[in-house]
Symmetry: D2
Subunit: 349 residues, 4 copies
């Protein structure tokens, strides 16, 4: 197998960082099948790096969550589905950062759920990241409590240009993907995104060394990431909401407010997906999903909330979901990881 490679360094043109999905010119054009190696800045673009830094003082609120991209995918047309297989996602730094943000998060009133109460304090936590040991070190601010957490790198944000000519801020998730903030988006996963504009114009960013389900305080363990992914295209197959596929699960997503509706979208999409893969009737699939689905909340802090609905692939027998794209891209990933030194190939190589 001879692979096409494309390396993209966002530092080559600092002006190229984008803060929207849609509304930006592509930084590169890649053919389906290309292995793309790139990296992403953390959501604060590295400007909040000590416990005494406050995001509100160091970051222009108009320029949060910079994305690397967008990339133009050759041949992508509205009605197709973009497949992005994440080969590796590796922290570039030995530290990550989380903060509280006034009026942002699940356990505070917010700009969209306002009250007359005063804000929670704005605070910053710095985490040590040990990629060799696979650990992230939490240190309390107000006591000497420390504890090591498992490193579990992921991208909070990946998406394409939205439909209907919309341009959406990179803090928002929706049917174009965007800031879904699901810990399921880790290396080894394939993400499917419906194409809305010629070239799809996908971007990615918002690396997290790890996050809890719901991202309660609104900010994960944010860090810059070295990322390798394989780009592919499924022609003529629409994908109304982003889907993920891991080695073990089909994962449907829904992003809106309230969580009720995000869950409805994710579960209805999963039912339709199971129908498509198994030939079950809709009511039979509804029944099977009801007894087997896992439903972790991804985030309840962004402008829209994201719920994921997971179905065990073991129940599919030998059926290959989505026409076998995931297995095909995994094969490319294996070649890629074999071809390249560890630092570009992910820690599990």
């Amino acid at each position: 197998m001879t692979l096409q490679h494309h390396d993209h360094d966002p530092d080559a043109d600092p002006a190229s960082l984008v803060y929207t999905f849609g509304g930006a010119a592509p930084v590169a054009s890649v053919a389906p099948g290309t292995v793309l190696s790139t990296w992403t800045r953390d959501c604060f673009a590295g400007r909040v790096s000590t416990r005494d830094h406050l995001a509100s003082q160091r970051v222009d609120p108009r320029f949060l969550n910079p994305q690397t991209g967008p990339f133009f995918v050759e041949g992508a047309e509205p009605g197709d589905t973009l497949a992005l297989h994440f080969v590796s996602i590796e922290p570039r730094e030995t530290w990550g950062v989380s903060t509280t943000v006034p009026f942002f998060g699940a356990l505070t009133s917010t700009l969209l759920t306002p009250t007359l109460q005063v804000a929670l304090p704005e605070l910053t936590w710095i985490y040590g990241i040990d990629t060799e040991a696979g650990l992230v070190r939490y240190e309390a601010r107000d006591s000497d409590f420390t504890v090591d957490l498992p490193l579990d790198p992921m991208h909070g944000t990946v998406g394409v240009a939205p439909a209907l000519g919309e341009v959406r801020n990179s803090l928002v998730p929706g049917d174009w993907g965007g800031n879904m903030d699901t810990p399921e988006l880790r290396a080894g996963t394939t993400v499917y995104l419906g194409v809305n504009v010629p070239g799809a114009l996908f971007s990615l960013g918002d690396g997290h060394a790890r996050q809890g389900e719901g991202e309660t305080c609104g900010v994960a363990v944010e860090t810059a990431m070295d990322t390798v992914l394989v780009v592919d295209l499924i022609k003529g197959a629409p994908c109304p909401w982003p889907r993920l596929e891991s080695d073990t699960h089909l994962i449907a997503t829904g992003s809106t407010r309230p969580l009720d509706d995000a869950l409805r979208i994710a579960h209805a999409e999963l039912v339709h997906w199971v129908v498509a893969e198994t030939g079950l009737s809709t009511m039979d699939a509804y029944q099977l999903v009801s007894q087997t689905v896992e439903t972790p909340v991804a985030n309840m802090v962004d402008t829209a909330y994201t719920v994921t609905a997971k179905f065990p692939k073991a129940l599919l027998g030998d059926r290959a979901p989505m026409g076998g794209v995931h297995e095909r891209l995994k094969a490319i990933a294996r070649v890629t990881l074999g071809e390249t030194p560890r630092k570009q190939g992910g820690r599990s190589s």
Copy 2:
């Protein structure tokens, strides 16, 4: 260790089945430390047992989800916390049942989310239960698709009499427990419930051979259960919302509508719980929970919805949550299971 045992057979007095939390006289009085062996009917009281049965024709809608109990716990007073450790939960039958119910479920309009659309069809699925193999067999109605699912028995419903003199139907979850429908409530788990009335008056029912997270269609794999549990009491410690403790996780719950608020309750309760167990400041606990919490949706189909928030006990070091009740009751469970052959976890012992 000499254990107190109490066996309760709800068939001894068929009139004793109750359909509410609160508003019923106790069927028995048990002292803290008692090992209680009993059994529960399925949510349809066994009346829906073939694929051609329709719940709407065979069950009086006023009498759904019968509970075994209530049990009066000696010495329990408002402001105490009841601890119920589930030693074993075993299907009594070799079959379970699920159905769709018109205008009930997450992917249909409902009585509380009405539309002008027609209802989905009412259908029944019968599952084979193989307790030896630990499997539940799904069979599609409209095709020959069949698949084995892992058996994972649990109680959908457990609770105490509510506060403020309220009497609540057994289909509703809330701060008294009730119909939380969380798959986390399996054998090996301790449930904590705040006591609202003298004697606590707890009941249980709604056995599920398994269910998905969210209980999408509204009905799990319903089956009668043989259940053994240890009853204990934590004096002078309130518990505003039900908590669960497994060997691996602290699990806070919240039950209300919409899911957003159920999540807020569960996450806020978990933060307060972590503060109590670790001495962390509230903001430090908020941060630690944000990076580590798991947030499976329990149900989005009942009159109120339930979200669970799980915190890994490994992060607590050698701290024993809730004063060590779970470990203490596990020791009793081990003695109980050692005293009796495995199937004796059930009523026939």
Copy 3:
């Protein structure tokens, strides 16, 4: 016309005040057609009467919102509809009270929408009530701003015993009525409530000298009320959710969380009501309601939220809604007001 009269003085038996719908023995039995004269305490039972009083210090939180009743209606059976026509609602005092309550209200986090923020301050405002002038006087606490508001007396709470054996606290609204807190429930209005238990067992309370739509801070201008109402019964006609009828509008209600679902209930009920009164098809009624409905929010502060949906009776032509009950009870009201001195007949007499 010879009217049956019944006077009920809740002070005659102070123990008779109740704090639930359901779960209480009737204080009196009345026949359909009876004119009932009674009075209700304010929601704090008079214990918060100066600007320096704090409800949290002066009122047992288990005993808020006392109701007068329940009244047993002769002949009322499940499946019937109770009709209560409010002849007059008159403040008994020259003052009313409002407060903020920690973690209660629409612009604060609450027990069911918790955050980690501190509560808003608990404060009390005393209003002067001038029934002659028809004014309620607001006085700011922190400045010398004062302004007169129109007196608009109403009952926040009226309801029957709930279905399914439930007993609900008087702070909760639902399909049994209860704490709907709609300003539409003023003198001249007929309230329809579905009967769930023999005798219906209705109660009323929570007089407001006036309130805004939504009851933003959670507490209206609370005051004791002298109230006269006519009790009637529609046999064999169910009423799934409370309805109100004024001289000008059909008013459907829905009470649940979130507001979205309360609105869906109220609008769907209104469509079904218009179908029943006009013979329009459901889709035609949906269309007509869409262009003509008024949708004031009643409350977004109670345990469930209430939305009202109002349809102009002028569009019905000469059709008499609900079989003409409202007009018939108005005729009784006119006789009643003519028979009795002003103090028992409402200020407009």
Copy 4:
């Protein structure tokens, strides 16, 4: 008073119709103080004009709700507030149209509140509009029921370019205004919109001959409108959410999902507005708003829902809200109306 006038005919350049807020070049530049006369197409651009027309067959779903504009306002900078006083809004045609749309509306499942149920039927209703009599004639499809409704013309959509570089479809409401669908936006009203980009870039459209509160079926009585408005600018004063001012009320708006949060935004904004106009403390204003606010739901059918919160200006005494802009623009409106015969409020002047 010498007025600046600008006439804009969207037919002069058919390509000029826009379907987004943001992302479009201005069609004209106007100075503050200008009287702008223009007209707007109906939301289907006139293509659904008989009872047998179906929008799904006649309208490209990417091109719904065309806007007239955007207009560049000279001197407008981010941080300013745009004031648009609607002098007249007059139907251009003698007919309007409403429809049901599959999976759109408050009493059906939708794309964002999906279920597995089938859609309601797609139907079209044509209304006669009699501007002289001020009537809109409803005719049932399935019976011979007809009724005249009051004509009450309004714009469902008016807004500026959003912040953060976003481009939003004209079907969405938000803090930039957009598709708020509130019947309060009638002639005689001033709309205040925060400016996000140089020139503000406001557009308007979506005329309704009338609509109910909530716009239940999702489509009002849609019609093309002749509209005259006065454009003004308040320098250096931000406006976080759209405000309306009528002769009688301050009207705050909030647009998001669920309705709960839209209400919280509208009520919190109204409290802050009352504080600014009266000097009351926040808690005193919270109290006063609680007893006096009217809270009609505007729409619960668009991608976000809109709630309005109305405060009686009579309570302000002789304070002139927003520095007296409304009265100043009304004076211009009077001159404008005096200058031109009544029908000249429209395009043909």
